[in-house]
Symmetry: C2
């Protein structure tokens, strides 16, 4: 096991990365202000991992309330969030009861937001069970639910007390979800570390074969980079927006197709292709660099073409992006491989060429 420390102005917390961590209650106990927790998970993860986590805690004298939600991005709503509140209030959970998120990004985001709001703030711990959650959504304190008019529109910045990333939990992850997680891993290479990008090209086969060492390195390097950026800008007033590479296009794909049709990571994969293509259109990266990005995204098992939403729908969905300022779209684009920048006032013709170009699926 290795442990990274995320030090923020008001708090610091460990990110534990290793194997078999789910059974080690000692990683959780120091963070509990009282020996009572609620484990929030979903109907897919519960049969696989709930009992192991619950037993370890109960053997250590912790009272456990399991809360099992339906599985899927379509359930990342207020109604589902309210199931958590109902369960907490019915069992008289207090403001010092710790919420443990056992699941992927949807569970982590909803549990974190529930913790942020329950009695104005209860402690919480992330136990991510998907690669995407391990490398990205469990770290950094972004929590949210979706609104019919936009993804993650209602939420809070609220940090966990600890993140526990157990590589062996990825054994049961469907291949499609593994690829979705790799999208966020590739993102870190593209936006900030060309050496890591090269490492990913060399190790993509090992990652997709779930080699624990390769996965642990990818998770570690991703979390290190994320931590570096979050420390500089916890509330996303500036540099943190770089972590949104591929996400402006990606969120539009998710909203345009209906949340849950494509996985978030798949939308981000195709979104990064569009971001790279737009960077190329603007003359910032050359064709070879664009192709290298597209190839790596494809090698991860991700789509390299976005669905054809139609120009108007693209612009409409992107206009709900949280990065919009004074009505202007802002994109995260590539200055070169390994360096991203936030760009406002992108040339409309270049954007239109990308949204009608070769990285958009043709209907025929």
């Amino acid at each position: 096991m290795i442990t990274l420390d995320l030090c923020l102005p008001d708090t610091r917390y460990p990110i534990h990365i290793g194997r078999g961590l789910l059974d080690d209650a000692q990683l959780i106990l120091p963070h509990l202000p009282q020996r009572k927790v609620a484990i929030v998970t979903n109907a897919t993860v519960a049969p696989l991992y709930l009992e192991r986590l619950q037993r370890g805690l109960e053997e250590a004298g912790v009272s456990v309330l399991p809360i099992v939600l339906p599985d899927g991005e379509v359930y990342k709503t207020w109604d589902t969030l309210n199931l958590i509140f109902d369960a907490l209030l019915s069992s008289r959970a207090e403001r010092k009861t710790t919420l443990i998120a056992l699941g992927g990004g949807v569970i982590g985001d909803m549990t974190g937001f529930a913790a942020a709001c329950y009695q104005r703030g209860a402690p919480f711990i992330q136990v991510p069970t998907t690669l995407l959650a391990q490398v990205d959504s469990s770290v950094g304190g972004k929590t949210a639910i979706n609104h019919p008019k936009g993804k993650n529109m209602i939420g809070a910045f609220y940090q966990p007390r600890a993140v526990i990333a157990d590589m062996t939990l990825l054994d049961t992850l469907p291949q499609r979800e593994l690829s979705a997680g790799l999208a966020e891993v590739i993102k870190y290479g593209l936006l900030g570390d060309v050496d890591f990008l090269t490492w990913l090209e060399d190790n993509m086969a090992a990652l997709r074969a779930r080699d624990y060492d390769a996965l642990a390195y990818a998770v570690r390097r991703s979390c290190e980079m994320k931590a570096e950026i979050v420390v500089q800008d916890e509330k996303e007033t500036g540099v943190r927006a770089l972590l949104n590479l591929g996400h402006t296009f990606g969120h539009a794909i998710e909203a345009g197709l209906g949340f849950g049709t494509w996985l978030h990571g798949e939308a981000v994969g195709a979104g990064m292709v569009l971001a790279a293509a737009l960077s190329h259109e603007l003359g910032w990266i050359d064709e070879a660099a664009l192709q290298r990005a597209v190839r790596l995204i494809g090698a991860a098992g991700l789509p390299t073409q976005a669905p054809d939403l139609g120009l108007e729908a693209w612009l409409e969905h992107m206009s709900h992006d949280k990065k919009v300022e004074s009505g202007k779209l802002r994109f995260v684009l590539l200055k070169r491989l390994g360096e991203a920048a936030i760009v406002e006032g992108v040339d409309a013709a270049a954007l239109e060429r990308v949204l009608t170009g070769p990285y958009i699926q043709r209907a025929d």
Copy 2:
């Protein structure tokens, strides 16, 4: 106009107290990161004050989105909160759009919570239109909505950028609401300043006659005391709970009768009588002190008897209090007039005597 400064670790903001402040857009402009605001108000306040506030801002070049909600504590729910989100998203409000709460405690709490959650945090400003909101709920950053199982159970600590308390807005406040606000004013005297309590006894008639100078002094002294406590303990891990004097009983009254039957301030008034009676039962204050508290609460036009909920219902409702720790009720009680303390493990027999005693309304 006088201005208090509330300085917290992460932020500081002014509390302006005076007359005719509603028309002075200069008090708001310095706090707007962009010239776009949403004014959240209710159907009662809108016809009285919305146009004045809106016009002043529009004349200063600010684009204004008015959001008018139904009026009343029963609407302090997720469904109403969602009306705010719908309006913000439909009009493409951004994360730098400022929300202005124009109304009483319900509007302030909901607008603040909406601002806390909208795109993970938009700026907001409080323009309280009731005495209760001016002396208490608009200051200190507590925001929330109710849940069927408990008041203010879902919320956030989220500070406004400014608070603007205009005494002349109290002209249109119904007498019953003025009394409800005085409950929180009396609270400050009881919990921390016996000289202020004496001042209140001497000036209760002037306050109820809406003498601007008397009101301004009461608002100022209340905000000063609240600010002092909030600065010590923004997130209520300790001393801030003192501000809950009368609220454990009061919340049980509101929940027991159904939210909105009694005004919050009325419930706090009767709740403070019960807290004083319990303090007397425990031998901390003598009969004369208890009578002095009861008399002042009555003089403010507030109920000095609580409804007869029945012992079981009292205990059930109080068990949902946010101050409960490890299953134990905690009360804020009076060591003497002008000094309160947080007490755990109150003698059950003493509590029962209070909840079946002379300060409970008899059914006959």
